[in-house]
């Protein structure tokens, strides 16, 4: 079903291409993205800098190839953390209901009402901005959506008779929550997790743009952030990393959309 959607396939092809460049690129094309290779702000097609260089004379193309690792790692790891926290809190709230649900939902709302970018900035500045703290900060501020979605699915699915049937055969709470309800709640969560990867990549770019990324790791966000003052005179230093972020998030979103269509039984029947 997924394979039949041309949009989703485009997204998948795009993402695989980006992954290949980011994972294998640095192995094939060995260079230091922080090396000065050309005159500062050389335009594209200059000697030694195919896509131009930034204000410190660093090669933009090398930055693109090496920066993908950090960006994609942060995206995937932060999305994973956010999904794990979100599913755990949402599942417990939805399954137990009552006071537990009330308490956990107020806690979730506390995170929801805080402007997440500001909150992440505070977290990153409190600790030193390394890849790990950036990942944790993004994960910690972006779980409420997943928690609410998981809670809603649990509230719905726990009403079904097959959950009562588990009670009737003497199943313990852990089995009912994680082996019976969760697998049935997964389709929307898979979609949400995919979209969370895209959101986390944008988040990382935003933090790096504001100068709160890991300064020792080349990333697309860092490239945009460090060259932002020269945006009007030297477009290439920000446009190419920006394009990479755009394409990556687009690819992930297309896959998310495709998964949504493929996992949604109502749409499945219509086709």
């Amino acid at each position: 079903m997924f394979a039949r959607s041309p949009v989703a396939v485009c997204g998948l092809v795009l993402l695989v291409a980006i992954l290949l460049v980011s994972l294998i690129g640095p192995l094939v094309y060995v260079a230091d993205p922080f090396d000065i290779v050309a005159a500062p702000l050389s335009p594209p097609f200059s000697e030694g800098a195919l896509l131009g260089s930034d204000q410190q004379g660093r090669d933009v193309l090398t930055g693109l190839i090496y920066g993908g690792r950090a960006t994609l790692t942060v995206g995937a790891a932060a999305a994973l953390i956010s999904v794990v926290i979100g599913i755990t809190i949402g599942a417990v709230a939805g399954y137990f209901g009552g006071t537990v649900d009330e308490a956990l939902m107020r806690f979730t709302e506390f995170f929801q009402v805080l402007p997440s970018l500001l909150f992440a900035m505070v977290l990153v500045t409190l600790f030193s901005p390394t890849l790990t703290t950036v990942v944790l900060a993004i994960g910690v501020v972006s779980w409420p959506g997943t928690a609410r979605l998981t809670r809603a699915e649990f509230l719905k699915i726990k009403q079904y008779d097959f959950v009562a049937a588990e009670l009737a055969i003497g199943a313990r709470r852990g089995r009912i929550m994680w082996k019976v309800i969760l697998p049935n709640a997964l389709p929307p969560l898979v979609v949400s997790a995919t979209l969370a990867v895209g959101a986390a990549i944008l988040f990382e770019a935003s933090l790096s743009f504001l100068g709160l990324g890991d300064p020792n790791r080349m990333s697309w966000g860092l490239m945009i952030g460090s060259s932002r003052s020269y945006m009007l005179s030297s477009w290439w230093a920000v446009t190419f990393p920006g394009l990479m972020i755009f394409l990556t998030v687009l690819a992930v979103s297309l896959i998310g959309d495709g998964l949504n269509d493929a996992l949604n039984p109502k749409l499945r029947e219509r086709r």
Binding site: A165, E166, N184
Partner: protein, 335 residues
């Protein structure tokens, strides 16, 4: 006769409604309000009543699938309302439930074989090899092909799904099977097959049934004893033959008269007792007889005091002021 397998005394299941106004007292829905009955081993108790009468809640309360507010439920002499989590889990071996809806009661992501095996896995019965053998035996017992073990629920028809449901309930070899309208979601031909299957299991394995239904014809077919529920209470309890020969409570009479028949024609149709209106709300039931507002035979006194469930004839219990025994003759207000 030995002690009954199931003995229920004054069972109450009340639900608190969500309270939006903290100044008002919380309203409670009295879904089941003082139900008592016994079921002898190897017999079937049929519980009938209209939608909202509390039949399903009684069934779920029996197996503690809903929290029991008060009362005593003894299964084979053990009071299950007093059991803690782990003891209750062990008790579930002896009592199982067949659900009404064969569609929502099977986990759509689990294969049929694994569904039937799940009680054995969860309760830790037998070795893996023994469990496999037991599943194969159960598939044969309920008339499913052995190779269908690998299929998912949506690949079965409604009748086959109900067979899976029954096989799952039979897996731990329970003494008591509570069936909540197991055939009401099935079409007529399949209905007969499933009812015959349940009858056959009863004869072969000596299973005791509590059988919930709103269909008088089904109850007549399967039950040894009949209990009629109205608004959370039993209004009449009697052996099947006595009940179907001569229902005593006006509500039972009305229910029986509502059964569609081919014979009898217009004359019979004209004599039919038509109940108007709906049952009162279980949130704040009226003080007197709960059926009084709809009862064609109600007198002012009926609205004042709640009638007790009285044993008028040995084995036949009625909750109605107007049914009387005069000498050897029973006078019933309707019918």
């Amino acid at each position: 006769m030995s002690a009954p397998l199931v003995s229920v005394r004054d069972l109450k299941v009340h639900f608190a409604r969500p309270n939006l106004n903290p100044l008002k007292p919380r309203e409670t829905v009295r879904a089941v309000d003082g139900v008592s009955f016994d079921v002898e081993k190897g017999t079937t108790l049929g519980i009938v009543g209209e939608s909202g009468s509390g039949k399903t809640t009684v069934a779920r309360g029996l197996l503690r699938l809903v929290p029991v507010t008060s009362g005593r439920i003894a299964i084979g002499g053990t009071d299950v309302t007093a059991l803690g989590g782990e003891e209750m889990r062990r008790m579930r071996r002896r009592m199982q439930y067949v659900f009404q809806d064969p569609y929502s009661s099977l986990n759509p992501r689990v294969r049929a074989g694994a569904i039937v095996r799940s009680p054995l896995d969860v309760l830790g019965i037998g070795t893996p090899a023994e469990r496999e053998a037991r599943v194969a035996e159960l598939f044969a017992a309920v008339g499913l092909r052995p190779e269908s073990q690998g299929l998912f629920p949506h690949q079965f028809s409604g009748g086959q799904r109900q067979r899976i449901n029954i096989a799952r309930a039979l897996a731990p070899a329970p003494d008591l099977l509570v069936c909540d309208e197991p055939v009401s979601a099935l079409d007529v031909a399949i209905r007969a097959q499933i009812l015959n299957l349940l009858q056959q299991l009863k004869r072969r394995l000596g299973i005791t049934y509590v059988f919930i239904s709103h269909d008088m014809a089904v109850v007549k077919h399967v039950a040894d004893e009949v209990a009629v529920m109205y608004l959370g209470q039993i209004v009449e309890r009697a052996p099947r033959t006595a009940f179907f020969a001569r229902p005593l409570h006006p509500y039972s009479v009305a229910l029986m008269s509502a059964v569609p028949t081919v014979r009898g024609g217009r004359e019979r149709a004209n004599r039919r007792i038509r109940l108007t209106g709906d049952p009162p709300s279980p949130i704040d039931p009226p003080p007197g007889c709960r059926f009084a507002a709809r009862c064609p035979a109600a007198e002012p006194a009926c609205r004042q005091t709640m009638p007790e469930l009285r044993e008028l004839v040995p084995g036949q219990w009625v909750r109605c002021h107007r049914v009387e025994v005069v000498g050897e003759v029973i006078r019933r207000p309707l019918g």
